[in-house]
């Protein structure tokens, strides 16, 4: 699973990355986290409110920092 955190270095982007790492650790899944800092690429995903979360090239969340539990649910929904 490839997870991308969209957003260029704002506090919320770091929070989202931290929350996502915790969720991955709790679920015990094999996933890599990539950070996308580049604005055109972020907008290409259709995301205007950072931070955004992309799981396997699909935007699952944008504009807010969710709780660990919410990320767990989002990831579980995508998990094959």
């Amino acid at each position: 699973m490839i997870i991308k955190v969209l957003g260029s270095g704002c506090a919320n982007c770091k929070n989202l990355e931290r929350v996502t790492r915790e969720a991955i650790a709790e679920l015990g899944i094999d996933a890599t986290i990539e950070k996308v800092l580049d604005y055109p690429t972020i907008v290409n995903y259709g995301v205007m409110s950072t931070p955004g979360l992309v799981v396997d090239e699909k935007v699952v969340l944008s504009g807010r920092v969710p709780t660990v539990a919410q990320v767990r649910e989002l990831l579980a929904a995508v998990k094959p």
Binding site: G7, S8, C10, A11, N12, E22, Y39, P40, I42, V43, N44, Y45, G46, V47, M48, S49, T50, K58, V59, V60, L61, S62, G63, R64, T67, V68, A69
Partner: protein
């Protein structure tokens, strides 16, 4: 790690509404009891003279800190919950296909209610322009968003009443509409980095607010209160301490002598001081209230507040990624002129 909001998460809808109503009642009681409580404590228990310097400064400090903190908690919570029904994506859809003029008015109004963090200014700018929204209309949105802030509206109303609040909203919207319209007229497309026009929107735009439950919205409200208070409490204390000091020790005619409404440089100096300062509206409001109490005129103070929130160096540096320096300078010039005009207008309409 569980957040406070997660632990507070109620199990059933009934419990949620009972909890919210309970919180509202407690808030109202605290708000009503605040001033009488401190008056009683400082005058009757500590035995200070409220007409004296130390007594009046102490009363001002404690009563106002608690009052502003309560106002902030209530207003931020309500505003965040209401805002969770709006999103940048919805706003963009509403602005799509709007011409300049009508578009500027709509963009400025939507800028007030759309939840928006200045850290999203760049992707929002690209997203709006990529959707075909004119630059001037986009700028109206970006100017109004920090300038006319619902938290500031709530605080102004709580501290100064309806008149100044309405003037603030109307003046802020006017600055955003006119500044955006002028920027559009100037044909500033050439001062936008070319890659913005080449960016195409992805196919899967998601509405960030879709599927939020009431529990989610309430949780967002609680978290936002915590986030903002954590960020602004130093400003709050400095503003109120200054107010208390002014209250007790600065002669009341000091400011009215040197910074009264008829001082032609007052507003200009206020804006010059405000630009390098960077805070949100909630952070500057206590200072504004202190200075108003000290006799500074409303127009000068509003101009100061607007320049702190609307013209900020960090945001301009961010926008440099998409706008060329010429456009940033024009933007600052047009908005700054608007703010100064508002300040002078208010000083004429509302002399202290």
């Amino acid at each position: 790690m569980t957040s406070v909001a997660e632990r507070l998460r109620p199990g059933t809808p009934t419990r949620r509404w009972v909890g919210l109503s309970g919180a509202a009642v407690i808030w109202a009681v605290l708000y009503q009891a605040n001033e009488p409580f401190w008056t009683w404590l400082i005058r009757d228990v500590v035995g200070m003279d409220l007409a004296g310097r130390a007594g009046s400064a102490a009363l001002f400090f404690f009563a106002d800190t608690v009052k502003i903190a309560l106002l902030l908690v209530g207003i931020i919570f309500v505003v965040t919950v209401l805002r969770s029904f709006m999103s940048l994506e919805r706003t963009r859809a509403m602005l799509g296909g709007k011409r300049e003029g009508v578009g500027n008015v709509m963009a400025a109004s939507l800028g007030v209610v759309t939840p928006f963090c200045s850290c999203s200014a760049v992707p929002a700018f690209i997203g709006f322009v990529a959707a075909g929204i004119p630059i001037g209309v986009t700028m109206s949105f970006l100017i109004a968003s920090p300038l006319v802030n619902e938290i500031a509206i709530g605080l102004l109303f709580g501290m100064f009443g309806l008149g100044p609040t309405l003037l603030y909203v109307v003046a802020g919207l006017t600055v955003a509409i006119v500044a955006g319209w002028i920027l559009g007229r100037l044909g500033v497309e050439k001062w936008v980095e070319p890659f913005v026009f080449e960016t195409r929107l992805g196919g899967q735009v998601i509405d960030t607010t879709a599927g939020l439950t009431w529990d989610d919205r309430i949780q967002m409200g609680v978290e936002e209160v915590a986030t903002i208070l954590r960020k602004i409490w130093p400003y709050l204390l400095v503003g109120i301490s200054l107010g208390a000091a002014i209250h007790g020790w600065v002669p009341t005619d000091f400011f009215t002598t040197y910074a009264n409404a008829s001082n032609p440089l007052g507003v200009f100096v206020a804006v010059l001081i405000g630009v390098p300062l960077y805070s949100n509206a909630a952070g500057v409001m206590p200072l504004v209230q202190s200075l108003y109490g000290a006799g500074l005129p409303m127009g000068t103070l509003l101009a100061f507040m607007m320049s702190v929130v609307a013209l900020s160096l960090p945001e301009m540096i961010l926008l440099r990624r998409v706008l060329k320096p010429q456009l940033i300078a024009t933007f600052a010039g047009v908005v700054g002129t608007g703010i100064i005009a508002v300040g002078y207008l208010f000083n004429i309409v509302l002399p202290h």
